[in-house]
């Protein structure tokens, strides 16, 4: 009978063990078998982006024990670079395991940043004059381009100016302007002094035009054109006059018709000769202006008040930017003369709101962002952000990146007619929010504040406050717009599971029996609010937890388990109803663009380093334009230092701990207080009082009774103890003094007589406490409540697949998959895209088989039948302390659950099976085989073995699961544990420490539960002087083993520490009290002789950094840098030395943000700033090495911009030579050719001029002089600035200088 009881106890413990071991909590990465379990050292300084991301994932996977679908090799080897892929891609990175198969040549085993031929630069087409950013040298040169080592086009050749050509103004490079002029065989003027696109385009509207009068067929006719064209047709040019001007006496009659003009937006009058006249308006006289050209600004006014088209019938002065353009009159429109009118380009959106031409706004498929009242992020699975635009009277809907990898942000600008919206799809920085929680030094007391500050500065993050109870509250930095996840096989679903698992938290409920009533701590953890608060966190992390999809369909994806096996309180209907509302969008809601300066900084676009030029034209149109084009800067690429490697640990709330919260009993608190009076006591009375108080306090603590007493009773008992002790002490002192013959007199006699009273009081108090203990007062009942946040899963089946796209937004793969497990998208990326139920008639459950390819070496699947199999080792039963990896295969994707007892259906299964709960065909389970003794079966018996059965059910995507359970049988043998424990791992991994540290917290990981000690000299375990704190419970097992910790003192810069361990702590002479783990009690099952102890020490070496980390001179610093291109690119280089090994991560501070250099974690860190504008640049720089050594420095330099062509300061003739002196270093050329009539002699290109001889200083330029010639001189400075194609630096007219 006793045997049976033991067995039942073992089964119960085993169930708990299974819960903890076979499910998510100790799942970890496996490759092909357990032999290949790899722990990756994430402190390796591989900082390319993918590696950094993987590092972050690695923290999730390994730090918290999760699994990823990514290959171990991928994580370790990172990416390789392929110069040319088989499908023609240039310079791409592929994960190491795939690279060679995708590449047309051998892959280079490093990231592309380290491959010179993949370095991005600017490619300049010397013939066409076009520039391309982000080009590799190979691709550029192969097609005739010239490559420059600046990826941002900040080079002279790419500098744009205004090209006036063929009556148009184009913002082009000089070579583009030349090329177009050459190709079209027409004159051009290049104006390098015009430096913005808008200024240039404006020039196109103010060109000189007029009447060109000529004879044709004996009639005086006319063509309205510019001067150069007029000269070509040999007419007489009358600038600023219309052909119908009466003074010109032509045959052309004014204002005969109206029409639109190609390339212009206004409605124009046309004369009888077909010439364009002024902008249409009536009365005619106003727009005729006696035959003079009337500028746009002096023409009629189209708008009146807020109505931009109020005068459309009488005025053709349309304005494209303000939302009108010339068009034919349509039904319902009226115009005073002709058939053309200013057409309205505005739109009416789906809500009936008028949208201006050029306006853009966001639309969403549900509620977005943070529900401030509930403090949770609410973007629904499957939903996407969209940007809508109104251009030319038509609304376009453009999706932002799917999976909410982009969010739509919007801002409003006040305009006279109301508000003008500008929207943009920009990258969602959700993953950064999560990474913040992993940053910083765990020992840094300001860590939580730093993380909170960082979180609040990121416009895409919010501080998720979890506040279940006084003892269970913490903060996490969570995304405002959680990312969507893919759950596809071979996708990244497991990584998504790891993100969701951040919300896997355990709350410990404690109930202490009291004298009159019980005391409870964290009782809220047993209530629905625990589930609701935790689900709020869960759904804020991504597509996790219980939530609705964008269609409003709810699925539950969380689990709460209690160690007392009672049912857990689940979320309430009220809570659920609130969730259901998130499927509906909220009118007028949009995401704020936010301050992204730190984000730009990662790109090298630090906004604080200068100001870009803002158009000075303040007309409404230009303001609108500026707001639109500023979107380019408003949206940018993912941060280069996207995710930082950090020390694991999620907590940053002020002192709170996410997992089990410490429960502070009153006795414990007071014991500290009690010790102090004792220490301070002087004299017998005080000493006695202290002893009495101490005894009572200890009793209260050791028995645990104190925890169950009201404070008043506790204090009374302690006071009684103190009084009893004081009396007894006084008596003892009096007796002693009396015995030594002191002169104490009657007082001492009195005190001596009080001694028995004191003792009686003490005895009574002690007896009272013992009685309380017998009555069970102070006994604590602990229940661990575990919340498991699962990845959000779509509803099973596919009945709602056809809802995809019905809401007016395009159907995407993500949206489709969120509607049902069997929903599949077809015809993706075509107009025929559809979401269909891929398996509408599926009624067959998945067929389960053992996964034969996966089982730990030395083990096998035996007794295989359609209903199950048996797991066996070579010895038969499974051997304790081995890691058994096994799995099952399904004939279709499914998810599996298990139970340790028979159940009726899938929903009754209690535990998740496998390392992932995603729908997969193969499911892996990792089973750390426990010791029977640790399961409660005592006594060594080599023949002892226990049989166990697990019951498995798997459900397919249509919701079909096997009716009959699939049985996994195995037995566990008795531990023949004669092996000493093995220390498998240590933290910190590096032996180096920060310079100047006096102690270091260390952890070791042992392969089995053990007690460990350390000393500074190598000696036997028993003689070692320092105990480590070891976490030896079943649930304490981590991927690395069981952890023991302590703090090692550091002296003389280095130290060797010897560690030894002793296994099977449950056989120790003394073990922890069940009621109070801080108390050790005699172990009735003690058997020290059976315990194995290390005979050799594990050497734990630590070494202080040799010196402080130093920043060597920063380049540039204290310099004036001159550029001829705005904005300028500057590379800041920071060299570090000292510290651990001289390598460090450097970052710069800007606008309150600390941004890592793009190229860092080296001895030389580099960062290119691509948009520097004139002015002083001051960059505080902080570098920190791997062990925490820090150094600070500053880069301070001036940016000077030279945007002027050189001027000629002096001209003279000397010794028959014409000499010019330029105001800066320059090269000069001249032309002495006599220009054509009507043209300037300056109309030649610099390259076609005759070079002058320049002196060594570059300032004096000379050529032989002939006084009969006129010299048209042009000079070019070192930045390529010239006066332009039609202007000169100086003209020396003939005869002016002798």
């Amino acid at each position: 009978m006793k045997r049976v009881n033991k067995k039942h106890y073992g089964k119960a413990v085993f169930q708990i063990f299974l819960l903890l071991s076979l499910t998510f909590s100790v799942s970890y990465l496996i490759r092909e078998s357990s032999e290949n379990v790899v722990i990756i050292n994430y402190e390796k300084k591989n900082y390319d982006l993918e590696a950094r991301l993987l590092g972050f994932v690695g923290k999730l996977i390994f730090g918290e024990g999760f699994v990823s679908a990514l290959e171990v090799g991928d994580l370790q080897d990172g990416s390789n670079t392929c110069l040319l892929s088989k499908d023609g891609k240039i310079c791409q990175e592929y994960i190491a395991s795939e690279c060679d198969s995708k590449c047309s040549e051998t892959c280079i085993p490093t990231g592309k940043k380290n491959v010179a031929s993949c370095k991005p630069g600017t490619c300049y087409n010397p013939v066409e004059g076009a520039c391309s950013a982000g080009a590799t040298q190979g691709a550029c040169s192969a097609n005739g381009g010239e490559w420059f080592d600046d990826p941002y086009e900040n080079i002279q050749e790419c500098r744009e100016g205004c090209c006036l050509i063929g009556g148009q103004a184009k913002f082009l490079t000089e070579q583009q302007c030349n090329r177009q002029s050459q190709l079209l065989n027409i004159d051009k003027e290049f104006r390098p002094d015009v430096r913005t696109e808008i200024q240039c385009l404006d020039l196109g509207t103010i060109k000189e035009e007029g009447a060109c009068v000529f004879e044709k067929e004996f009639e005086r006719t006319c063509k309205f054109t510019d001067k150069s064209n007029c000269l070509k047709i040999k007419g007489d040019f009358y600038s600023g006059k219309l052909c119908s001007n009466p003074e010109l006496d032509t045959i052309c009659e004014p204002q005969k018709t109206t029409n639109c003009v190609d390339g212009k937006n206004e409605v124009y009058w046309f004369d009888s000769c077909g010439n364009r006249e002024n902008i249409y308006s009536v009365p005619k006289a106003g727009s005729f202006k006696n035959g003079e050209v009337l500028s746009k600004i002096d023409s009629c006014t189209l708008s009146s008040g807020n109505n931009q088209l109020a005068n459309a019938n009488t005025c053709g002065n349309c304005n494209y930017l303000l939302g009108s353009t010339c068009g034919r009159v349509s039904d319902g429109e009226k115009v005073a003369v002709g058939d053309f009118i200013c057409k309205d380009l505005s739109c009416i959106d789906e809500s009936g709101v008028k949208r201006e031409h050029g306006e853009s706004w966001c639309s969403y498929q549900g509620t977005i962002g943070v529900d401030k009242q509930k403090n949770r992020a609410v973007d629904t699975p499957g939903s996407r952000h969209f940007r809508e635009t109104c251009v030319n009277g038509e609304i376009e809907v453009n999706p932002c990146a799917d999976y909410r990898n982009e969010i739509c942000v919007e801002s409003q600008i006040k305009i006279p007619s109301g508000e003008f919206s500008s929207a943009a799809c920009r990258i969602n920085r959700a993953q950064e929010c999560l990474s913040y929680n992993f940053e910083g030094d765990k020992d840094d007391i300001d860590r939580s504040d730093k993380i909170k500050s960082k979180c609040e500065k990121n416009p895409d993050c919010f501080v998720k406050e979890v506040d279940v109870s006084d003892k269970f509250n913490f903060n996490i930095c969570a995304p405002k717009y959680p990312s969507g996840f893919t759950r596809e096989e071979n996708g990244r679903g497991e990584g998504a599971e790891a993100i969701c698992a951040i919300a896997n938290q355990k709350c410990q409920y404690v109930k202490v029996k009291g004298l009159f009533s019980s005391k409870e701590v964290n009782k809220e953890c047993l209530q629905p609010e625990f589930a609701e608060e935790m689900n709020d966190l869960c759904m804020s992390l991504g597509d996790c937890g219980s939530s609705v999809n964008y269609n409003g369909d709810y699925t539950s994806n969380y689990k709460i388990t209690r160690t007392d096996n009672k049912d857990s309180a689940s979320i309430s209907q009220t809570y659920l109803n609130a969730l259901l509302r998130y499927g509906d969008p909220i009118k007028g809601q949009y995401a704020e663009a936010g301050d992204l300066s730190d984000f730009y900084g990662e790109l090298g676009i630090p906004g604080m380093l200068g100001t870009s030029e803002v158009p000075t034209d303040t007309t409404e149109g230009v303001v609108k334009m500026a707001s639109l084009t500023s979107g380019m800067l408003g949206v940018t690429l993912m941060a280069a230092n996207f995710l930082n490697i950090a020390i694991p640990g999620l907590t940053y709330s002020t002192g709170a701990v996410i997992s089990t919260m410490p429960i502070a009993g009153s006795a414990g608190e007071i014991s500290v207080v009690a010790a102090n009076p004792g220490m301070m006591a002087a004299g017998g009375v005080l000493a006695g009082a202290a002893i009495g108080l101490g005894v009572v306090t200890m009793l209260l603590q050791f028995t645990g009774v104190g925890g169950g007493l009201p404070p008043a009773v506790t204090y009374t008992l302690m006071a009684a103890g103190a009084i009893g002790g004081a009396l007894a002490g006084a008596a003892a002192t009096a007796s002693a003094l009396t015995a030594t013959g002191g002169t104490v007199g009657p007082l001492l006699g009195g005190l001596a007589s009080a001694g028995p009273i004191g003792w009686i009081i003490l005895v009574v108090v002690v007896i009272f406490i013992i009685i309380l203990k017998i009555l069970g007062i102070g006994k604590a009942k602990k229940v661990d409540v575990q919340f498991q946040c699962k990845i959000w899963e779509a509803p099973t089946g596919g009945t709602n697949c056809d809802e995809c796209g019905k809401d007016g937004f395009p159907c995407s793969r993500y949206a489709c998959q969120s509607l049902g497990q069997t929903c599949s998208i077809i015809n993706e990326n075509t107009r025929e895209v559809a979401c269909i139920d891929s398996n509408p008639n599926d009624v067959t459950p998945p067929v389960i088989k053992p996964w034969n390819d996966l089982i730990t070496q030395g083990h096998s699947y035996n007794d295989i039948s359609e209903n199950g199999f048996k797991l066996e080792s070579e010895q038969g039963c499974l051997k304790p302390y081995t890691q058994l990896v096994f799995g099952v295969s399904l004939n279709e994707p499914g998810r599996c659950m298990l139970a340790s007892e028979d159940t009726d259906k899938f929903e009754d299964m209690t535990e998740d099976f496998g390392v992932s709960q995603l729908f997969r065909t193969n499911h892996t389970a990792i089973f750390p085989v426990p010791d029977l003794q640790s399961l409660g079966l005592q006594g060594y018996d080599p023949k002892l073995q226990e049989d166990y059965s697990l019951f498995l059910r798997c459900e397919d995507k249509s919701g079909n699961s096997n009716v009959k359970e699939y049985e996994i049988n195995f037995c566990i043998g008795q531990a023949d544990n004669f092996e000493a424990p093995i220390i498998q791992s240590r933290e910190p991994n590096s032996e180096f420490l920060k310079f100047g540290v006096s102690s270091q917290k260390v952890d070791i990981y042992v392969n089995e539960p053990s007690e460990c000690k350390w000393d500074v000299s190598d000696k036997e375990y028993i003689l070692m002087g320092n105990d480590m704190i070891c976490e030896n419970d079943l649930e304490d097992q981590t991927i690395k083993g069981w952890k023991c910790s302590d703090k090692f003192p550091i002296s003389n810069g280095a130290g060797n520490y010897y560690v030894r361990c002793k296994d099977q702590p449950w056989l120790a002479n003394q073990i922890k009290s069940e009621d109070d783990e801080s108390v050790y009690v005699d172990n009735p099952k003690a058997n020290e002789s059976k315990r194995n102890v290390n005979s050799e020490s594990y050497l734990f070496s630590l070494k202080e950094s040799v010196s402080e980390l130093k920043i060597d001179p920063i380049v540039p610093n204290g310099q004036k840098l001159e550029f001829g291109v705005e904005p300028a690119s500057v590379e800041v280089i920071v060299s570090t030395s000292g510290g651990m090994d001289g390598t460090a991560k450097c970052s710069y501070l800007i606008g309150g943000h600390q941004i890592d250099f793009v190229d860092t974690w080296k001895k030389t860190s580099k960062q290119v700033f691509q948009t520097l504008y004139p002015g002083n640049v001051n960059l505080p720089i902080v570098c920190e090495d791997l062990v925490g050594n820090k150094a600070e420095g500053e880069a301070n330099f001036d940016i000077k911009l030279d945007v002027k062509a050189p001027s000629i300061a002096r001209i003279y003739v000397e010794s028959g030579n014409l000499k010019t002196v330029s105001d800066e270093k320059a090269q000069c050329v001249y032309s002495a050719e006599i220009p054509e009539s009507g043209f300037s002699g300056c109309k030649y290109d610099f390259v076609n001029g005759t070079s002058m001889i320049t002196n060594s200083e570059g300032r004096v330029h000379s050529t032989s002089f002939e006084s009969a010639k006129t010299y048209y001189i042009k000079c070019k400075d070192e930045f390529g600035w010239t006066p332009g194609s039609n202007r000169c630096s100086a003209i020396v007219k003939r005869g002016t200088i002798a």
């Binding site: 190709l183 937006n265 990258i427 084009t629």
Partner: protein, 260 residues
């Protein structure tokens, strides 16, 4: 001299003059005839297929065909690195298959590549034109000699200039015709479209973003549509409003993985 005599003399003089005039006219005619015989004269093939318009038309058709094929596919006749969108293989101008980082400009000298692409596509076509013209002439008993062909294209604003430098000598009996240097110009906005595409690729490489609405407002001659696909590929369709010609390109950069 009496009057009769004078009249006779006058008549004889007139005759002489007439004869001389007649001789001069005949001589001129003979000279003209002889001269004409010795001068190569353009052959009137009389089939409505004069070689110049024939070749020019042929080159024009081939270039147009190439452009019509290329533009929807991102500027390439046979795209290699592409994504299928609406059953069209659209070339990536800028691409990073990985995550987070900006795209790598795949065709940084795009104009040259487009020019070369038209050349590659139409070279054989135009050569075929000459050959079929030759065959046609030879079937009519005319001899045609064709030299080496130098073909070049220039992309210019709103036009494509085709230069064919090829000697062609056509002999029809005693008639000889020498032809070379054919120049064809077709009106097409490929130059502008390619420049916009180049700008998009550059901005995507720099900022992972191109503000197409702002661009459209600045340059109303273009309509640009953008669509972001599930794998973060962006399809840009750039339309020249005047001609209706449309160039599609694909970019992918700064993608974020769905999950990790």
């Amino acid at each position: 001299m009496d009057n009769k005599m004078r009249k006779l003399v006058n008549k004889k003089g007139q005759m002489t003059i007439f004869v001389i005039i007649a001789i001069v006219i005949v001589a001129i005619l003979i000279i003209l005839f002889v001269f004409r015989k010795n001068v190569e004269k353009p052959i009137d093939f009389n089939e409505g297929s004069n070689s110049v318009p024939f070749v020019e038309g042929c080159a024009r058709d081939s270039a147009k065909e190439a452009l019509d094929l290329m533009l929807p596919q991102g500027g390439f006749v046979n795209p290699k690195n592409y994504i299928s969108y609406n059953h069209i293989n659209i070339t990536y101008l800028c691409e990073n298959v990985g995550y987070f980082e900006p795209c790598v400009n795949q065709h940084p000298v795009f104009l040259n590549e487009i020019r070369d692409e038209i050349y590659d596509y139409s070279y054989n076509d135009i050569d075929e034109c000459f050959l079929s013209f030759k065959d046609e002439m030879e079937s009519k008993n005319k001899q045609v000699e064709i030299g080496e062909m130098n073909l070049s294209y220039e992309l210019a604003p709103n036009r494509v200039k085709i230069k064919i430098d090829r000697n062609m000598k056509i002999t029809d009996g005693d008639k000889i015709s020498n032809l070379n240097n054919f120049e064809v110009e077709i009106m097409h906005p490929v130059y502008e479209l390619a420049n916009v595409a180049n700008e998009i690729a550059s901005q995507e490489a720099k900022y992972c973003y191109f503000e197409y609405v702002g661009y459209m407002l600045t340059y109303p001659q273009f309509t640009i549509a953008e669509n972001t696909l599930s794998d973060s590929t962006k399809i840009y369709s750039i339309k020249d409003n005047k001609s209706g010609k449309e160039l599609n390109i694909a970019t992918r950069g700064c993608a974020i993985p769905a999950g990790i």
